[in-house]
C-alpha cells in the first residue's frame, strides 16, 4: 500500500470521527506532533493491548464507488441505517416467518460494530477489489474435488467432513482471516517480550508467536496453516513476513464481501503485515497478500482496530463443541435414506 493511500484513509477516518462526535484520531503527521508512540521497557515500539475487530466495512468495494476510499455523507448515512436495521433484527426474539433458517449462531451473539466511512478493507488495487485470478487458479477452482470446486459454506452437500470449509471444521481462519472482523469473537491481543511479538486471536484460539531475530524461515517442506512468521521494526511499524503456508487454508472472510469460499491460495503465498499504532487507541493493520500462482497481482487490506482493554476473550472451543459437523453429516445420510424431512 502506498503512502498516498495511507494518508487518504487516515484523512477519511478523521472525518468519520468528527461526524460521530468523537475526538478525531491523529493523522500520521499529527501523531508525531501530539502523541509519542510508547516503548516497551526494552525499547521496542509498544503495540500491546486488546484490539478487537469492528465489523462493518466490506472486504471488496462496490464497483459504483470506483477509486473512492471513503463514503460520502449520504453513503455513510445509508451504511449506518443498514447496521442499525441489522442490529435491530439481531435483537428480535423470534425470526420472521420468511427468514432463511440457517445453522449459524443465535442472533444475540452478533457484534455489528460501528460503521466507518472506509469504503472497503481492500485498499490496493485502487478500485478496492480483488485482482483477477490467474488462469491456473481459475482452472484449479473449477476442477477441484472432481469438478465440485473448493469447499464453501455448506450448501446442502455433505458427503464427508472435507466437504465443509475450514471454518466449519474449526481448524483455523488463517493469518488474515483471524483478524478480518466477523460477526462475533473478534478479539485480538498483542503481547510482547524481548525478541518476540505474539498476536493472539480469539477466533478458533490462535496465538502466533513472531520471532524478531531475523533468523531464516523453517525449511520449505514444513507447511503450516498459520505459516512461518518473522518480524522486524521499521520505525514504529512492525513488519511481519509470513511464508511456509499450506495451500489447505484460505485467506478468510469478513462475512460481507468475501464470504464462503474464502480465498483459496497456493503454497507460494506470502503475506506482509504492517502494524502501526497511529495513536494511543488506534492500530492500523495492513496485510499484503502476494501469491502469484493465484492472483495476477498482490493486493492489500487495511483494517483499523481500536484498543479496548475491557474486552474479554472467550475461549472459542469450536472443535470441542462442533455438534454442527456431526449433525450436518448425519442429516445428509438420513436425507439419502429417505428419513429426513426438509
Amino acid at each position: 500500500m502506498s503512502h498516498r493511500f495511507l494518508a487518504g484513509s487516515v484523512a477519511a477516518l478523521a472525518l468519520v470521527s468528527v461526524a460521530a462526535g468523537q475526538a478525531p484520531p491523529s493523522t500520521a503527521k499529527a501523531g508525531t506532533k501530539n502523541w509519542t508512540a510508547p516503548k516497551t521497557p526494552w525499547g521496542d515500539p509498544d503495540i500491546q493491548g486488546i484490539w478487537p475487530g469492528n465489523m462493518g466495512v466490506p472486504m471488496q468495494r462496490p464497483k459504483t464507488l470506483g477509486d473512492r476510499t471513503s463514503l460520502s455523507d449520504e453513503e455513510y448515512a445509508k451504511r449506518v441505517t443498514q447496521a442499525q436495521k441489522a442490529a435491530a433484527a439481531d435483537n428480535e426474539e423470534r425470526a420472521p416467518k420468511d427468514a432463511k433458517v440457517g445453522i449459524g449462531p443465535p442472533s444475540y451473539w452478533t457484534e455489528r460494530g460501528k460503521p466507518t466511512r472506509q469504503a472497503s478493507l481492500i485498499v490496493d488495487p485502487p478500485d478496492g477489489r480483488l485482482p483477477p485470478l490467474t488462469p491456473e487458479a481459475e482452472k484449479l477452482r473449477k476442477e477441484f474435488r472432481g469438478g465440485r470446486g473448493v469447499p464453501a459454506e455448506w450448501a446442502g452437500q455433505a458427503d464427508t467432513y472435507e466437504d465443509l470449509n475450514l471454518y466449519y471444521r474449526c481448524i483455523t481462519r488463517g493469518v488474515t482471516g483471524s483478524i478480518i472482523p466477523v460477526v462475533y469473537n473478534n478479539g485480538n491481543q498483542i503481547l510482547q517480550a524481548p525478541g518476540y511479538v505474539v498476536i493472539r486471536n480469539e477466533m478458533i484460539h490462535e496465538a502466533r508467536v513472531i520471532p524478531l531475530d531475523k533468523s531464516p524461515h523453517v525449511g520449505a517442506s514444513i507447511r503450516e496453516y498459520m505459516g512461518d512468521s518473522r518480524g522486524h521494526w521499521e520505525g514504529n511499524t512492525l513488519v511481519i513476513e509470513t511464508t511456509n503456508f499450506t495451500d489447505k487454508t484460505s485467506i478468510g472472510s469478513n462475512g460481507v464481501g468475501y464470504n464462503g469460499e474464502g480465498g483459496k491460495h497456493s503454497e507460494a503465498l506470502k503475506t506482509i503485515e504492517r502494524i502501526t499504532r497511529v495513536d494511543e487507541n488506534t492500530l492500523h493493520y495492513e496485510a499484503t497478500v502476494d501469491d502469484p500462482k493465484t492472483w495476477t497481482k498482490p493486493w492489500t487490506m487495511l483494517i483499523e482496530l481500536k484498543k479496548d482493554d475491557n474486552y474479554q476473550f472467550l475461549e472459542y472451543a469450536c472443535h470441542e463443541g462442533n455438534y454442527a459437523m456431526k449433525d450436518i453429516l448425519a442429516g445428509a445420510r438420513a436425507d439419502e435414506a429417505g428419513k429426513g424431512s426438509r
Partner: protein, 270 residues
C-alpha cells in the same frame, strides 16, 4: 528430543537426588545459589520454549511398559514405562470416581480427549510430549502450546472471577518470591490428566508453581483439588526442560483434521 537433554540436565538431576531421577526437587530445595535473570516486569525471567521429558502424558502414576490402545501400531503405539509424577504415587480417588477412572482407561482409544484433538486443559497441557512457549510480557503472561493451538493468558493484575467454564480455565497469577503461582479455576472438567484416564470434574481447582532452577530448567508443581472426585488434594511435580536448539521455535500442531475420521467417519457417505 535428545538435543534438549543436554549435559546440564544430567548434572542437575544428579545434584537433585541419587535415588529417583524422576522426582524433581521439592520447593525450597532448589540450588540456593541460583538467582534467575530478571524479565522486564522485574520478576524471574520465565521466557523460553519448555517441555516435559517424561511419560506423564501416558500415566501420571508409576507404570510398567505395556501395550497401547492400538495394537495395529505395533511397538510404535506401545506405552513406555515410567516413574510417576504424583507425590506419593497414590491419587486419592473417591470410590465411585475410581470406577470411572478404570472405565476411562478401558475406553481410552476413543474417549481420551487427546485422541479427539480437544484442548488439553490444565495441568495436562504442561506435560504433553510437545513444546510450549512462555511469553512474559509487561501486560501478563501467555502460555502458548504447540498441541491443538491451545493457549492461556495468565492475568497478573487484580484477580478475575471465572466466567463460564472452559478447557484452559481462568488463570490468575502472582509471584511468591521467584516462583510464579497460577491459580486455575473455571475448568470444565472435560479434559483428562493423561492417557490412562485420570480425570477430575468441573469442581477442579489447580494451583501451579513455576520456579527457575537454573538457566535450562523450570520446576513445575501443581496441587490438584476436587472434592467431588478426590478425598483430599494431591500434588504432581516435575522438571521442565528448555529447548536450546539454535532454531527452536513452536510449530503449529493443529490436529483437528487427524481426529475427524475418528469423530465423524461413521457419518460419511458410504
Amino acid at each position: 528430543m535428545r538435543s534438549v537433554i543436554g549435559s546440564a540436565v544430567i548434572v542437575t538431576a544428579a545434584a537433585v537426588t541419587v535415588f529417583s531421577l524422576a522426582v524433581p526437587p521439592a520447593k525450597g530445595q532448589a540450588p540456593q545459589a541460583y538467582r534467575a535473570p530478571r524479565a522486564a516486569d522485574g520478576h524471574a525471567d520465565l521466557n523460553g520454549i519448555w517441555q516435559a521429558v517424561n511419560t506423564a502424558n501416558w500415566d501420571v502414576q508409576d507404570h510398567s511398559a505395556q501395550a497401547g490402545p492400538m495394537w495395529e501400531m505395533g511397538a510404535i503405539g506401545a506405552e513406555p514405562p515410567g516413574q510417576g509424577v504424583v507425590e506419593g504415587n497414590d491419587i486419592p480417588y473417591l470410590p465411585v470416581a475410581l470406577e470411572k477412572k478404570k472405565a476411562n482407561f478401558a475406553n481410552r482409544r476413543t474417549n481420551d480427549p487427546e485422541a479427539k484433538c480437544y484442548m488439553p486443559g490444565i495441568p495436562r497441557a504442561n506435560y504433553m510430549p510437545y513444546p510450549f512457549q512462555i511469553i512474559q510480557s509487561p501486560q501478563g503472561i501467555l502460555f502458548v502450546y504447540s498441541y491443538a493451538s491451545s493457549n492461556r493468558f495468565v492475568n497478573m493484575g487484580k484477580p478475575m472471577e471465572a466466567g463460564s467454564d472452559t478447557w484452559m480455565g481462568t488463570n490468575n497469577g502472582h509471584w511468591e518470591g521467584d516462583t510464579l503461582v497460577i491459580d486455575v479455576t473455571g475448568l470444565n472438567g472435560l479434559a483428562w490428566f493423561d492417557r490412562a484416564g485420570n480425570f477430575a470434574s468441573d469442581k477442579l481447582h489447580v494451583v501451579e508453581r513455576f520456579t527457575r532452577l537454573d538457566p535450562y530448567h523450570l520446576n513445575y508443581e501443581a496441587t490438584i483439588e476436587d472434592p467431588s472426585v478426590f478425598s483430599k488434594p494431591w500434588k504432581i511435580s516435575m522438571p521442565l526442560y528448555r529447548h536450546v536448539e539454535k532454531n527452536a521455535q513452536l510449530l503449529d500442531f493443529k490436529c483437528v483434521e487427524f481426529a475427524e475420521e475418528l469423530l465423524y467417519g461413521q457419518y460419511k457417505k458410504k
